[in-house]
Symmetry: D2
């Protein structure tokens, strides 16, 4: 098989859309064949319509790509959705119905019973919802989603501990980078020399919805949410990239710090076993210095920059069992990179067909 | 009685020393008569030896004051100590022995059994340790101390709630401004576009020592520490002034949010009743917006800028009873201003003698 | 005369509008009687419609003021315009025609031949254009304007030197604060850990229009622009308030540094002689440290915070005659405060009628 | 020839020393065999003695290297000097005398008549000073130096224009990143929400010394300094890496903007012709957007990140002939990377012996 799997990016001109473009450069399995934009930009060239906000430059070969409308007929098999949630709901459904594999970073469908909310390292078995979804809705394609940026790294760090020790209570305070709000997003007038201790709907997502579904158990055709109680305070800080979270945890029984460290260090879930191209090896980087992780120093750690979750400052907690810090890149693993890794898992697990799976086996032998 | 009470500032060239200088400008009771510095600067003029780091300029009339050594013989009645802790221990003892009222921002003596750790609004009755201290040590003067910057505002916000509802557990994550580390303090290389999730000894002070003593009960000649369990994560953020803290609390019984708000709003402790010149009115500012307090917007609130404690975002907590944010200026109320208000309380309560107390009554009638 | 002059603020909900509100608190001559907003906010209360972006809080007594439309019939004598330039043109003309004294911060009319572009210290004689304007246009009222933020402080610093030495060439590089772009204005994504070396139209205003008109000579019914050649590079930097400008100057003949310093220090123009309430005393603060002025340290210098122009680092220039730095607050003196001082000059000079002028004489005796 | 050329790093624990370590990872010609430190760290392991301040981590294989004293006997052929200038003078001389090739980033010897101040693209012919230096001083080895960070990128941008059009006057205002001052360097208290418009000795280096020597003509055994008059204002801004400079230029005759652009774009000096491993291709990146270069976006442009010089916003200047912006990474090309490229040039030109030159020819065929 000579060529790559064609993919489209919905909402390619925005900050997350650009991150998709950047992460897909030189991808061993995927090639960009479609870029979509909102109505007023359809028909314009990507190079004109898009103000590039990432470091360096837009890839030169995409400058002349003409922006399309997001609708059936696009020449691609997978679509990555960087749409705002409002716009995402209808469009993603229509594309899934028409046969596309929709890997969405939008929150529109995250909480639907039959749509997987997915972190490949955490809950790959939730892919079993796809046939449920297709049967129930009569779709030829399907939708998968990834969690929001602060949930992603929190749950990534908690998952091996939950498996080993059974987590009951989590207290988390986030210090989130400005890029999490998109572009233009947070006004410099609000954040220079300041903190904004409020991010709309963010605490609700962490306290009530996302971790519970991600760590939930697949029970026939549905997910039984994990029984964990979480309290979250979410803050915006004057940092460009990288969400840092202070976490305290109580388990069924108190684990030793050594056992926790071991659980993280020995963690080698499916995505890493499959050697997916965007899977960080190791998935969790454990730091031992007293003052790490730090956003600027650690957000791009690992052989796939921005995809790892970094933990550190593990210590006893006077109220709960232990506490630590978790850091991760919010627009790489926490957004576009999360969708991308989901797509890689889908390919490797055969959800895109035998030919695609074969391509994956050849390109990334384990 | 015509003149003011003479005061000295120990360590006048440092960042906290400068804040003492600034806050004492135009003070109705106190006038600066002595500035001390470390050995290499003794004999130099303040204007030469001190690189002024606060906004605006050093008060012009102090530029030519000759820096002295900190030792008995200084022409003043009260000394404010902005010494580093190492240097503070011996010097402060020597001065207290010689008869000075030492109001110290250093941590050297904070945890001594017979030395008050004081927030005038919180535990003015702890001044009763002064005669104990003098009797036990044979001192003519005495030492009082104020807590560290992050403890000050945390305990200020908790005190009326502890009185009303009996606090049992506190979870706190601090986001602390760079000025808390003094000058030059935090390197710009460490903090631009970054967070440093570690401040040496800070978590220990909050978890094990300061809140417990401050909220403790005077029992004869000693303090019975409050039985509160606290977990703290301390972080340094790229904000110049103002420590913001995310707090979750559990009490003996769950209070309503309304009752909490009322406890804060009706709080009128002794310092405010006495109308001390640096006492903020009200001591606690309660904000109702969804996104306040914020360091830049709220750190200088109140009629005595930088002295109030600001709370907001009060809401139910899924794990504990309630959660909120507290903000306060770390080098005003959290450092120099804390010592200054202590001194005012000492004067008003007669610890500086009848003449000083009379001055206070005339200058600040209730 | 018992009451104050009623003033209105056009565009009161924006960042400059808020600055007008703040500066007018407790003003000895003026009281706010009208706040206007764009169509969608007319009829709402100021406290609801306006997200306050300045430190502290909106003045409590204005929270319930109902926002009006900006049109004749408003109950005030002076209107301060914080409108965007597009909206300003028609509205300001209509109000001037109807008899209001319009003191505008918008650029819409700055370059009209018969409308003064005014800095009270620099060109008060240009007020003579007002009768010209009224005669030519048949207006009962009139419009005055103030220059843009970076021009204001540049020309304020140059004016006494131009009077004394005749300036021929000016090279200027600005480092401008984010607040100059309004709210939300500059995205945090664009400016954290970055500089944006471009501000649309800013270089053109400095190189071709504003300094030349301000320093121009009134010649009968028009202004002869000053014959100065200026080169400007304008940059946006991650500073909240305060524009800093590096300036090199060539005059008709080379003045000594001493003569320049003297020209600044002895500068006491009409606004200061009249003792206008918002006139900084002195108008130009000359700093002698090697590393000042600095935005954070010096932007609020002076007895009327934010109204002074601060200069420093005066030294010989290898290419021109001398070089120095100038700093000033961009949203106080560089925007709302500039319009306010213009209004005070108008009152003091009798352009608002004898009664108003009398009020001024009583309130601010020279 | 199987092995690489051994190199040592003097002052390896500092910020520039760390940058040398980072840039030498995987270098095709060089391998680190010696790390030196100041007396109190000699004998300690690099991993203990060095607080790593660059992103990510210290290379693992260097953690256990024992720090040596910088003196003859070190097992290496080239030494890169990241010493502070005071310490550098004696040590570098001693090492050069003993036969080492010293590539120094220190300023100690930059202005010595017989020591090349070198940018490989600009003045490779100045290497002819090496035999002069050796003969005059009786040294077996030699010293070369690279200019300071702000000069490097300014002169790199000017060189092709000077060759083509003969530059006469340069006006430059720098906006320099905090990393230029080393670690801990600039206090966060000085630079958050601020600019410091003064960098000791920086303006003198640009106005009087470095550009003139770099662009000077080799005349027998000495350099005739270029006859260019430069005026410089130097500022420190709250940016982590990347110096941005606003430049206005006057030439012998006014070149067209098109001719200037062409001179930059067609510039292919010796270092690029030789295909030196750290030579950026192209050496000068010309941007055409209205708002570039920007530090965060462009400081790491190019196939050798941080080594290129980036120019943009070329336009006519009302006072001089043209103006533009130049940006470059200050601790990569402006410091350690500058020394490294010098070493590569020395190897390629045979100054390290035939064997080293042969290695270079094999590893980097043109």
């Amino acid at each position: 098989m000579g060529s790559k799997i064609k993919v489209g990016i919905l909402g390619a001109t925005g900050a997350v859309g650009q991150r998709f473009v950047q992460l897909l450069q030189g991808h061993p399995w995927f090639e960009i064949s479609v870029l979509t934009a909102s109505q007023r930009n359809v028909g314009r060239r990507y190079g004109e319509a898009c103000k590039w906000v990432l470091r360096g430059d837009m890839p030169a070969h995409l400058r002349d790509v003409v922006l399309e409308e997001a609708r059936p007929g696009m020449d691609c098999q997978i679509v990555f959705s960087a749409l705002p949630s409002g716009a995402a709901r209808e469009v993603e459904q229509e594309l899934a119905a028409a046969g596309y594999a929709v890997c969405s970073n939008a929150s529109a469908h995250r909480y639907d019973d039959d749509i997987p909310l997915l972190i490949p390292e955490v809950n790959p078995e939730h892919l079993a919802l796809i046939p449920v979804q297709q049967a129930r809705r009569g779709w030829k394609g399907f939708i998968t989603t990834n969690p929001n940026c602060s949930t992603t790294h929190l749950v990534s760090a908690l998952h091996p501990l939950h498996q080993a020790f059974g987590i009951r209570k989590v207290f988390v305070v986030t210090m989130q980078a400005v890029s999490g709000a998109g572009y233009p997003g947070v006004s410099s007038m609000d954040i220079l020399d300041n903190i904004v201790p409020y991010i709309p709907n963010e605490e609700e997502k962490i306290e009530q919805r996302e971790p519970h579904k991600l760590l939930g158990r697949l029970d026939g055709e549905r997910i039984q949410p994990a029984e964990i109680v979480i309290s979250a305070h979410c803050n915006r800080v004057p940092v460009r990239n990288g969400h840092l979270e202070a976490v305290s945890v109580e388990c069924k029984q108190r684990p030793s710090l050594e056992a926790i460290r071991e659980a993280w260090q020995e963690y080698r879930p499916l995505a890493q076993q499959l050697n997916l191209p965007s899977a960080p090896q190791p998935p969790i980087v454990v730091r031992s210095e007293p003052d790490r992780p730090q956003p600027r120093m650690d957000r791009m750690l690992g052989q796939v920059p921005g995809m790892a979750t970094v933990v550190g400052r593990l210590r006893e907690d006077p109220l709960f069992h232990f506490k630590f810090l978790v850091l991760g890149h919010n627009t790489v693993r926490g957004a576009a990179g999360g969708s991308l890794l989901n797509a890689e898992l889908l390919v490797a697990q055969g959800y895109l067909g035998a030919e695609a799976a074969a391509l994956a086996r050849v390109a990334s032998p384990v």
